[in-house]
C-alpha cells in the first residue's frame, strides 16, 4: 500500500511539472491554432537561462524564474510578431514547418552556445524530501507542483477577468469579429505567444532544478506537450493541468504495476481511449478541436 501511495504522490507531483511544461503549448494551439513545434526548445532555453542566472549570479532558481519568464516573454513576443505572424493565416502545414525549423535553429544554437553537456541547476533543498506517514514528498517537485497549480489558476483568472485575457480568448474564438471590436490581433497573438514562452521558460527552470537537461531534450518536451494538450483538450485553461496530472499518474502507476518499459505505450493507450470517448479531450471544447485547417 505504501508503494502505491508513494507512486501516486510522485505521479501527481510529476504530473504538475508536466502540466507546467504543456500549458503554454496548449494556450498557443487553442488561441492561435498554431501547433508550436518549437515549444520544447523554449522549455530548454528557459532551463539554460535559469542555469546561467544560477551559475553567474548565484540566483536561486525559484527567484531566477521570474527573470527567466521576462526574458522568454520578450523572445516569444518578438518571434511571434516578426516571424510566426508572417504565416499565421497559412495552412497548418506551413506553421508546422516554420516552428519545426525554428526548433532546429534553437536546438542547434543552444548546442553551439552551451554545448551538449548535461546540466542541472543545483540547490541545497530540491532533492530533499518531507516524510509524511512514510511517504516521501520531494521538496523541489512539490514546489514545482504548487507553482504549476498557481500559474494555471492565475491564467484562468487573467483570461476570465481582465481585458487582455478576454481579448486573447475573443481572438481565439473569432479573429475577424475580434478585430471589428477594436482588438489588435497581431498584438494579442504576440502577447499569447510571449506568455506561452514565458511559461515554458519557467517550466524549463523547474525541470533543470529537479532533473537534468541538454539541448537534445527539446523534442521530448514538445511531444509530451502535444500529448498532454490533446489529452486535456483545447479551449480550457485547466486542460493542460488535467492532462498533465493524468499523464503523471498513468506513468507512475504503469511503471509500478507493470514493467517500466510500458510507461510510454501506456500513456499513448490512455490518450487513444480518452479520444475514443471524448474527441475534444478531457475538458476541452469541441469548437477548438474542430478548427484545424489543412
Amino acid at each position: 500500500m505504501t508503494g502505491f501511495l508513494q507512486a501516486t504522490v510522485y505521479g501527481l507531483l510529476q504530473g504538475g511539472l508536466l502540466a507546467l511544461v504543456a500549458v503554454g503549448f496548449s494556450l498557443v494551439w487553442g488561441v492561435m491554432n498554431v501547433v508550436n513545434l518549437s515549444h520544447g526548445a523554449f522549455v530548454v532555453l528557459g532551463a539554460y537561462v535559469g542555469w546561467q542566472l544560477n551559475t553567474s549570479l548565484g540566483l536561486d532558481p525559484f527567484l531566477g524564474m521570474v527573470i527567466v519568464a521576462l526574458v522568454l516573454f520578450c523572445i516569444g513576443y518578438a518571434v511571434q510578431r516578426f516571424l510566426i505572424n508572417l504565416v499565421v493565416n497559412g495552412p497548418i502545414f506551413i506553421t508546422l514547418l516554420l516552428t519545426f525549423g525554428l526548433e532546429l535553429l534553437l536546438v542547434q544554437g543552444m548546442n553551439i552556445v552551451f554545448t551538449a553537456n548535461y546540466q542541472s541547476i543545483p540547490t541545497s533543498y530540491a532533492g530533499n524530501a518531507i516524510v509524511l506517514g512514510g511517504i516521501q514528498v520531494p521538496l523541489g517537485r512539490l514546489l514545482a507542483f504548487l507553482l504549476a497549480v498557481g500559474i494555471t489558476v492565475l491564467l484562468v483568472k487573467v483570461m476570465a477577468n481582465t481585458r487582455i485575457g478576454m481579448s486573447i480568448m475573443a481572438t481565439g474564438m473569432d479573429r475577424g469579429a475580434a478585430r471589428l471590436m477594436g482588438i489588435r490581433a497581431r498584438h494579442v497573438y504576440a502577447l499569447t505567444f510571449g506568455i506561452a514562452t514565458a511559461l515554458a521558460g519557467m517550466a524549463g527552470t523547474m525541470v533543470g532544478t529537479v532533473g537534468t537537461f541538454n539541448p537534445a531534450a527539446a523534442g521530448g518536451f514538445t511531444l509530451l506537450s502535444f500529448v498532454i494538450a490533446v489529452l486535456g483538450g483545447l479551449g480550457n485553461m485547466y486542460g493542460a493541468m488535467v492532462g498533465g496530472l493524468l499523464m503523471g499518474l498513468v506513468q507512475a502507476w504503469g511503471g509500478y504495476y507493470l514493467s517500466g518499459t510500458w510507461v510510454n505505450a501506456l500513456a499513448f493507450l490512455v490518450l487513444v481511449i480518452v479520444l475514443m470517448f471524448r474527441p475534444s479531450g478531457l475538458v476541452g471544447k469541441a469548437f477548438y478541436a474542430a478548427r484545424v485547417e489543412v
Binding site: 505504501t2 508503494g3 508513494q6 507512486a7 510522485y10 510529476q14 536546438v107 542547434q108 548546442n111 554545448t115 551538449a116 553537456n117 548535461y118 546540466q119 542541472s120 543545483p122 532533492g127 530533499n128 524530501a129 516524510v131 516521501q136 520531494p138 523541489g140 517537485r141 529537479v210 532533473g211 537534468t212 541538454n214 539541448p215 537534445a216 531534450a217 521530448g220 506513468q251 507512475a252 504503469g254 511503471g255 509500478y256 514493467s259 517500466g260 518499459t261 510507461v263 510510454n264
Partner: protein
C-alpha cells in the same frame, strides 16, 4: 508573385539535382586520398541528438589521435608517409542516419570507417560495412550482439557489454567489507544496457548474492521513479544501474527524493562521464562506475605514451580530464593506424586482415581481436567518485585508492 514562385521551384529543383548527384553510387577504390598524400578515414559522429555529449567525447579522442599521428609525420604506408585526415559527419545520434552516412562515405570511396557512439549506431553501421566491403574499427559499440552476427569487417577495441556491470559486482564482492548480500539491477531497455544487465545479474548469482528481479525503463528516461519505488521495499544492498548518462543521473537524483538508500550505487556508463559529477555535485560521492579505461591503466605505445600522458594531452587540448570515451576512440583510431602500417596498404581487404592479426600494446589496453572481432581479453576497471574525482578502485593491481564502503550515507 508568379515569378518568385517559379524562381523558388527552379532553385529547389536545382538543389535537388545537385544533391542527387552527390549521392550517386560510385565504384571508387579502397585507398581514397592515398594518391594525394593523405589517408582519409570516415567517422559518423553523434554531435547532436540524445548522445551528443558522448559523441563529442568520442570526436575528441579521434581528433587527438589525428594530431598525434600527424605529429609523427603521418601513417607509413609502404614507403610513403600519408597525413591522417578524419572526415566527420553528424549522425544526430540516430542509427539509421549513422548507417546511411557509412553508405555516403562508401560513395566517396572512403572504405575505412571509425565507429559512431554507442551500440545501436554501431550495430546499424556494421551491417552496411559488411555489405560495402568497408572496414570499421568500433570505438564504443560494446553490445555482444554486434559481434554475434558473423560479420568479418568490424573490430571493437573495447570490452563487451556483458563485462560492464558485471565488473562492478565483482569489485564489490572482492573489496566490500562487510560483504553485502543483495543486488538489484535497474536497466534501460536498449540492447547494450540489457546485455550489461544480464551480465551483472549472472555475475551476482555466481558470486552468491541474492539477486532481485531486474527492473527496466525506457532508454533515455529521465524519470526512473517507478523502478526505484518498486525496489525500495526490498531494501537491496547494491543497486546497479545499467544505463547511459541521463538515466544514471536520474537514478541518483530520484533515489534521494524517494529515500532509497542502498549501501552503494554502481552504474555503467554514467559515472566516468565528466557531466556526472558536475550535474550531481556531492550526491555523486561514493558512486561506483565501470570504465573501459582509467588513467592508471598499464601499457603504452609510440603515439600516446602511457595512460597518464594521454590524460595530460587531453587536459591540455580539451581542458577536462580524459574519460574512457576519449580513450577508446583514440585507441580505435590507433588500431587503424597500426593495421594500415602493418598492411603497408590502404586497401580495405588488406587492412581488414591486418586488423584481424593485430596484437599491439597501447595506452588503452592490448589491441588484439578474437575471431568475432571483439577485444575480449581486455579487462574493465571500476572507479569510484571520491572527493569529486574518479578514482580507480578495482582491479587491485591498478587501484589508485581503497574502496570507500559503504558508498552512501543514511
Amino acid at each position: 508573385m508568379k515569378t518568385s514562385r517559379i524562381l523558388a521551384t527552379a532553385t529547389i529543383a536545382a538543389v535537388s539535382v545537385a544533391l542527387t548527384g552527390c549521392g550517386s553510387k560510385g565504384e571508387a577504390g579502397g585507398d581514397a586520398g592515398a594518391s594525394s598524400g593523405t589517408l582519409t578515414i570516415g567517422a559518423s559522429i553523434s554531435l547532436t541528438g540524445k548522445t551528443a555529449r558522448e559523441g563529442v567525447l568520442t570526436q575528441e579522442g579521434y581528433q587527438l589521435c589525428q594530431e598525434k599521428v600527424n605529429a609523427k609525420g603521418g601513417v607509413k604506408v609502404g614507403d610513403k608517409m600519408l597525413k591522417l585526415d578524419i572526415k566527420y559527419q553528424d549522425d544526430t545520434s540516430k542509427p539509421d542516419t549513422a548507417a546511411s552516412l557509412v553508405d555516403q562515405f562508401n560513395d566517396q570511396g572512403i572504405k575505412l570507417i571509425l565507429g559512431s557512439y554507442g551500440s545501436a549506431n554501431t550495430e546499424a553501421q556494421a551491417a552496411v560495412i559488411e555489405r560495402n566491403n568497408q572496414v570499421m574499427v568500433d570505438s564504443s559499440g560494446a553490445d555482444n550482439n554486434i559481434f554475434a552476427k558473423g560479420y568479418k569487417r568490424t573490430f571493437g577495441v573495447l570490452s563487451p557489454a556483458t563485462e560492464y556491470a558485471a565488473s562492478i559486482v565483482k569489485a564489490v564482492a572482492e573489496l566490500a567489507s562487510p560483504k553485502p548480500t543483495s543486488v538489484v539491477v535497474l536497466s534501460a531497455d536498449d540492447g547494450f544496457s540489457k546485455r550489461a544487465a544480464d551480465g551483472a545479474a549472472k555475475a551476482a548469482k555466481d558470486l552468491g548474492f541474492t539477486v532481485l528481479e531486474t527492473q527496466y525503463f525506457p532508454n533515455g528516461a529521465t524519470d526512473v521513479s517507478a523502478s526505484l519505488n518498486k525496489v525500495k521495499a526490498s531494501n537491496p544492498d547494491v543497486i546497479i544501474g545499467s544505463v547511459h548518462l541521463a538515466e544514471g543521473v536520474a537514478i541518483i537524483k530520484q533515489a534521494k527524493e524517494l529515500g532509497v538508500v542502498p549501501k552503494v550505487f554502481g552504474e555503467t556508463v554514467a559515472p566516468p562521464t565528466p557531466d556526472f559529477v558536475t550535474t550531481l555535485g556531492k550526491d555523486a560521492e561514493g558512486v561506483l562506475g565501470s570504465s573501459q579505461w582509467t588513467k592508471s591503466a598499464a601499457g603504452s605505445d609510440d603515439y600516446f605514451g602511457t595512460a597518464k600522458q594521454y590524460d595530460a594531452d587531453i587536459q591540455a587540448k580539451f581542458k577536462h580530464e580524459a574519460g574512457y570515451h576519449n580513450a577508446e576512440a583514440s585507441a580505435a583510431c590507433l588500431a587503424f593506424v597500426l593495421a594500415i602500417q602493418k598492411a603497408g596498404s590502404t586497401d580495405a581487404n588488406k587492412v581488414r586482415d591486418a586488423l584481424a592479426a593485430l596484437d599491439a600494446p597501447s595506452f588503452f589496453a592490448q589491441l588484439k581481436f578474437d575471431a568475432v572481432g571483439m577485444n575480449s581479453t581486455k579487462p574493465m576497471s571500476v572507479i569510484q567518485i571520491q572527493g569529486g574525482k574518479q578514482v580507480t578502485v578495482w582491479p587491485k593491481a591498478s587501484a589508485e585508492a581503497a574502496l570507500i564502503w559503504p558508498g552512501t550515507t543514511k
